[in-house]
């Protein structure tokens, strides 16, 4: 495991504002989906920036922002240990029973 490190960003001048990850919910009933990231000095500004950057074309009805530094992500080095063991365990897929006629949304 490794925490996301911030990109060093711009060369010279003031250091860039902290990085934030943006999640947008397209409409009621859907989950918030990651759409990108942005720089902002604080959470309130991050939310406003997200509104301007990611919902200009009616992409959403709700926005979450969270500091990139707060994300703990899996590392590409751990890919094998993390994900490969699932490859040969077909019994984990729900394919061993019959879906009743007419059952919707399964």
């Amino acid at each position: 495991m490794s925490t996301h490190s911030e990109p060093t960003g711009q060369s010279g001048g003031a250091p860039p504002a902290p990085l934030w990850e943006v999640f947008v919910r397209a409409r009621r009933g859907l989950a918030h989906t990651h759409v990108g990231s942005l720089h902002a000095a604080d959470a309130e500004l991050a939310l406003r920036n997200a509104r301007d950057l990611y919902t200009r074309r009616q992409e959403g009805v709700s926005i979450w922002v969270l500091p990139t530094a707060a994300i703990t992500a899996s590392s590409p080095d751990e890919k094998d240990a993390f994900f490969d063991p699932a490859a040969d365990k077909v019994y984990r897929h729900p394919t061993f029973y019959e879906v009743p006629e007419g059952a919707a949304h399964l």
């Binding site: 309130e44 920036n49 950057l53």
Partner: protein, 267 residues
């Protein structure tokens, strides 16, 4: 920026007293009022667009461009309506591109140069604090077209007010340097707010009635930002009568040059 304020003083002070060309409540009078709002929005849009690629950070660049486009959208609706009311066959393009500075009715506030980011935010704060109650009042007025435009624009202006407030609070209550520059910006721009709220009882919405909302919006933000309003009796005006600072002609030259060189050009 102080230098520019000194430059503009003589012009504004020499402005001849308004001579109303139309009797109260006439169509001409209403056209003038709508044109004033349209030009406020058009000139503000052009000024804000000048920040494009110059914003302090990429996110702010886009935020200011968004606000500029909101203002442009309102300007187009208002210009179109003013042209229709005037009945002289002028559409939004004719009004935007073929009038000289003396025919523009915008307030002086919006034509002032952008200055630093603090000046731009002070200008936006005062403009939005005026436009929000103005558009809200228009949304409930008897003129259907103006009511529709007001209803659309007030939501956009509410966001402009929110955006400007956010920055004014942060800069005013930030570092010593940011406080100094934000206070200097408020000192410089404040006198120009007087013109926004000058009484006009014949207008569909008398700007003087917006004073309470304007003051409450502005004083709350400034208090939180630890900023003060300057004591000054200098109240430059003249914009509503076409008497502008020298900055407007340069802005219009840039705005109009393409259309004047290639009349009727389109994408």
């Amino acid at each position: 920026m102080t230098a520019h304020a000194e430059q503009t003083t003589p012009l504004a002070v020499q402005a001849t007293p308004p001579t109303r060309q139309a009797a109260p409540g006439t169509v001409t009078n209403r056209v003038g009022f709508v044109l004033g709002l349209a030009d406020d929005a058009l000139v503000a849009a052009q000024r804000l667009a000048q920040w494009c690629t110059h914003g302090p950070e990429m996110e702010e660049d886009i935020a200011l461009s968004n606000i500029a486009l909101d203002q442009l959208g309102a300007a187009r609706l208002l210009l179109t309506y003013a042209g229709e009311m005037e009945g002289a066959g002028r559409d939004e393009d004719a009004l935007a591109y073929q009038r000289d500075d003396r025919e523009f009715r915008n307030c002086l506030l919006v034509e002032l140069p952008n200055g630093d980011f603090a000046v731009t935010m002070a200008k936006l704060l005062f403009l939005a604090a005026y436009q929000v109650p103005l558009y809200t009042a228009l949304a409930g007025c008897g003129d259907e077209r103006l009511a529709a435009i007001g209803a659309k624009a007030r939501k956009e202006s509410a966001y402009h007010l929110d955006h400007a407030s956010l920055w004014v609070r942060r800069l005013g209550d930030g570092t010593d340097e940011s406080h100094r520059r934000m206070q200097a910006a408020v000192d410089e721009v404040w006198p120009y707010t007087h013109e926004l709220l000058a009484p006009d009882p014949t207008a569909p919405v008398d700007p003087a009635t917006l004073r309470v909302d304007f003051d409450s919006a502005v004083s709350g933000v400034l208090a939180e930002a630890t900023l003060t309003v300057p004591e000054t009796s200098w109240t430059p005006d003249g914009g509503r009568n076409g008497v502008h600072t020298e900055h407007l002609s340069y802005l219009l030259a840039e705005l109009q040059v393409l259309h004047r060189a290639h009349p009727g050009a389109s994408w």
